[in-house]
């Protein structure tokens, strides 16, 4: 009885609380990796070799590492789109669709007025992308705020609508006649392409994403509005009775979240594709959802988890080439991580 759990012996110089946090963060991905290894083995592959290939393909060269950062950009934008409404208890599963709509809105200017100068073109595209994604998500937020439709359902279903809308455009009015049967738009003029960093595919979207995350952190923890958001997230009833306008926050945060995902879509199509095409997103919206929930919607952790999942996403191509695995195999790993993360949350909720 004399010894206590809370003051147990130190663990490599960490306090017991730090150790718990560290273990909680590290264990779920490890369990998921072990589960995926078992699957690979059952598939007749050597899991160690596969993991080695992924590590080598991402960390083994400047090009590989650059690619990880390139994937991080849309992941961070999409994670923010989920995290911002999540801070007041809203679930946004619509990052993927908001990404598409942002790309569509952004495409209007370069396809209609290709001669605009860069200084007008890029800000215009970015504003259009924000407005597009914002309206798309804001509609779901409005329906939720009026207690008409669950935001989980509406955001999820609107993803398909956005996907079909994109296809309709690139097969129809925006189809590039020179691409014969390829469903894609005309290439953007040079003025509509985000500046790249160095010679690779890495682009300035990285700074926009990191800057937005920093801004999110500042607003959340330093300002009156972040304080009110945290109050709603902590106890909606008490916040309402204190006079915090909850309905306004729901709509506004969906607009901001969707708008940020829209900018992610603009950045991806402008810098990486250079034109509008369906399938420019490798499920970035959904992976961003995973990032946000794994990081507990915490701005700083979003950066860390985005990096981790970008490594795994990037590993998809590596595994396809070196291990002859279908690209979708990595989705199994993502799903496993999601399950483990959710299971951990469930047990935490029970023990509270």
């Amino acid at each position: 009885m004399a010894e206590t759990g809370a003051l147990a012996k130190p663990f490599y110089g960490l306090s017991s609380r730090q150790r718990d946090v560290l273990l909680q963060a590290v264990t779920p991905p490890l369990i998921a990796l072990a589960g995926f290894a078992a699957l690979l083995a059952a598939y007749g592959k050597n899991p160690l070799a596969a993991y080695w290939d992924v590590l080598h393909g991402t960390f083994g060269s400047v090009r590989g590492l650059t690619e990880v950062f390139v994937i991080m950009i849309p992941l961070m934008f999409c994670a923010l789109a989920v995290a911002i409404p999540a801070r007041i208890g809203m679930v946004n599963v619509g990052g993927e669709g908001q990404l598409y709509i942002g790309a569509i809105f952004a495409a209007y200017a370069p396809l209609t007025w290709p001669d605009l100068p860069t200084a007008v073109m890029l800000p215009l595209m970015m504003c259009a992308a924000f407005i597009g994604g914002g309206l798309w998500a804001g509609l779901c937020g409005y329906l939720r705020a009026k207690s008409l439709v669950s935001e989980v359902l509406s955001t999820l279903l609107m993803n398909s609508v956005a996907g079909f809308l994109l296809q309709y455009l690139v097969f129809g009015v925006w189809h590039d006649p020179k691409s014969s049967n390829f469903p894609q738009s005309k290439p953007y003029p040079a003025a509509a392409v985000l500046p790249h960093l160095g010679t690779g595919r890495l682009h300035v979207g990285l700074f926009f994403a990191l800057g937005t995350i920093a801004l999110f952190w500042f607003v959340l923890y330093k300002t009156r509005w972040g304080y009110e958001m945290r109050a709603i997230g902590g106890n909606q009833e008490a916040a309402r009775r204190s006079g915090i306008p909850i309905v306004r926050y729901i709509v506004l945060l969906f607009v901001i979240g969707g708008g940020i995902a829209g900018i992610g879509g603009m950045a991806e199509t402008s810098a990486i594709q250079g034109r509008l095409r369906p399938g420019f997103s490798s499920s970035y919206g959904y992976i961003g959802f995973l990032v946000s929930w794994m990081s507990g919607h915490n701005p700083l952790l979003i950066v860390v988890i985005s990096f981790l999942l970008a490594v795994i996403t990037s590993g998809r191509d590596v595994l396809q080439i070196t291990q002859d695995l279908p690209g979708a195999a990595v989705n199994i790993l993502m799903a496993l991580i999601l399950f483990v993360v959710l299971a951990r949350r469930g047990t935490q909720a029970e023990t509270r």
Binding site: A2, K222, A238, R241
Partner: protein
């Protein structure tokens, strides 16, 4: 047990029970920055009701949670039937047939009573035999006159009935030691009477009953043994026969608290009312109560009290005032038609609201105490147009308020969810009574408070009235209503059943109107 007997200097020759069923010895439990229990000894006997008395934060809940295995003590031992035992979790304690009823119940509203009880039973089989469980509930309900229908849905039941279900759960799980954490807090006066009766029967059946309270009247009405705690230490244990109230009060608080100072009101019937509800009628959803034709007026310099058994429409009146509940009839605030005003506008106009349930409606558990104190008046502390918050200003205001009100503040830096019910109530009080307001709507403002803080709180309400505020006081405590109010309304079944000046009526008459026993 001769060794342990020598460890308690004031060991009581305990009448018929010389051997305690459970003994706590030198229990010490430390939390960051506070010693909640400091070498506490306690003996628990079968066939006896023991009251654990003490003000908020005196360590009584912590001690009970150590006994229940919910907390592990940093030092000290527990003896069961004279043998040392270690409780690492509530499961361990339950194995020794110790059960605890918490302040917040753990029932599933969408389930029936029987389904809820079944979930708790250790021998639950794969196939639910709800009929058999219902039969057992009926038996035990009859034995202790609990009047619980096993097939009733929990969401339809009052807090008092839910408490009985929690008790049935423990009894069916064969608990022998029953710990009640402030059981009367959620109960209406007649339900308290019932509970005391149940205590007496449990005692006759040789159960050991422990209950935490800070109400002397209840302790004297039902306990055989009174243990008083103050600041984490046990001050003493007395048998009821040898105890008197004055002695217990001075043990609890060190000194006798002062009474509320109150003069006649300067209210004038010609001043514009600060709140007016005229023939307010609400349409309740299925199974909900509705207000019928409720009219009331609160003027500056006036305390208007609403007496009523809980669930008579108090919450609905509060929701109408806040605009959370649609209604017919007029609502005027300080002379303006306030129908459709958002809460932020009401608050800016000078409304303060002490809600009936601080944990649910008043406090944000994940935020610190400081952050909770600014939540209702955010504009006051926002700086640079909202780009930053003046937390030092919040702390300074809280310190000033503490000095003025003599209500001790909880630690400002900890998350509110770590605090006890009394401390949560203090957060709400400091926040809502700290500034000048035109109208203060106070639901059960002294709930969960210890006596000195309750007195300070009542004094604050009277001071606010003298300063020109109108106060609407919703309470079940008739003493409180008769001490503070200039006008008392009685609410029963969603209607105003009576309207009095306290000097023109009696507690008895009001009490009978509350329960609807007189037309």
């Amino acid at each position: 047990m001769s060794t342990s007997a020598s460890m308690r200097p004031d060991s009581i020759a305990a009448g018929p029970h010389s051997m305690p069923l459970v003994s706590l010895r030198r229990i010490t439990k430390r939390f960051p920055a506070v010693v909640a229990n400091d070498h506490v000894d306690l003996d628990i006997y079968s066939g006896e009701v023991q009251a654990i008395l003490g003000e908020n934060g005196s360590g009584k809940s912590t001690l009970m949670k150590v006994l229940y295995g919910y907390y592990r003590a940093d030092e000290g031992d527990i003896f069961f039937d004279g043998k040392p035992v270690v409780f690492k979790s509530p499961q361990d304690a339950r194995r020794f047939r110790i059960g605890m009823l918490f302040q917040n119940f753990t029932l599933i509203p969408a389930f029936t009573v029987a389904e809820n009880v079944a979930l708790f039973l250790p021998e639950l089989k794969i196939r639910l035999d709800l009929k058999e469980i219902a039969e057992r509930i009926r038996d035990i309900s009859e034995k202790y006159q609990l009047r619980i229908d096993p097939m009733a849905y929990v969401w339809r039941l009052s807090m008092g009935e839910q408490q009985k279900i929690e008790l049935i759960k423990l009894l069916l799980a064969n608990a022998r030691v029953l710990i009640f954490d402030e059981p009367t807090r959620v109960l209406a006066p007649h339900e308290i009477e019932n509970l005391m009766h149940v205590f007496r029967q449990l005692k006759a059946d040789n159960y050991a009953v422990l209950f935490i309270t800070h109400k002397l009247r209840e302790a004297f009405a039902s306990a055989d043994r009174l243990t008083v705690m103050r600041r984490g230490a046990r001050i003493g244990t007395l048998m009821r026969a040898e105890a008197d109230e004055r002695q217990i009060v001075s043990m609890m608080f060190g000194a006798e608290p002062q009474a509320v100072q109150r003069d006649g009101s300067r209210m004038s019937v010609t001043t514009r009312p600060v709140l007016e509800l005229a023939s307010v009628t609400t349409a309740g959803a299925l199974g909900e109560l509705c207000l019928e034709n409720v009219s009331l007026t609160v003027r500056p310099h006036e305390v208007v009290g609403i007496a009523g058994v809980s669930g008579s429409g108090q919450k609905e009146i509060g929701d109408v005032i806040l605009g959370l509940l649609p209604h017919n009839g007029a609502k005027r605030f300080d002379g303006h038609d306030a129908t459709g005003w958002p809460i932020s506008r009401l608050r800016q106009h000078g409304l303060a609201m002490i809600p009936e349930n601080p944990l649910w409606m008043g406090v944000i558990g994940s935020m610190t105490v400081t952050e909770n104190m600014a939540i209702a008046d955010r504009a006051r502390y926002a700086r640079h147009g909202g780009l930053s918050m003046d937390w030092n200003g919040v702390r300074n205001d809280a310190a000033r308020f503490e000095e003025r009100s003599r209500i001790p503040m909880p630690n400002l830096a900890v998350p509110a969810e770590t605090l006890s019910g009394g401390n949560l109530q203090r957060i709400v009080l400091i926040r809502e009574l700290g500034q000048q307001h035109k109208l203060i709507v106070a639901f059960y403002p002294t709930q969960a408070l210890d006596l000195p803080t309750a007195v300070s709180t009542r004094q604050l309400l009277v001071d606010a009235r003298d300063g020109g505020a109108g106060v609407l006081l919703i309470s079940e405590d008739l003493d409180e209503l008769f001490t503070l109010c200039d006008t008392i309304l009685v609410l029963c079944g969603g209607r105003i059943a009576g309207r009095f000046r306290p000097e023109d009526t009696t507690r008895d008459a009001v009490g009978r109107l509350m329960t609807g026993s007189v037309a």
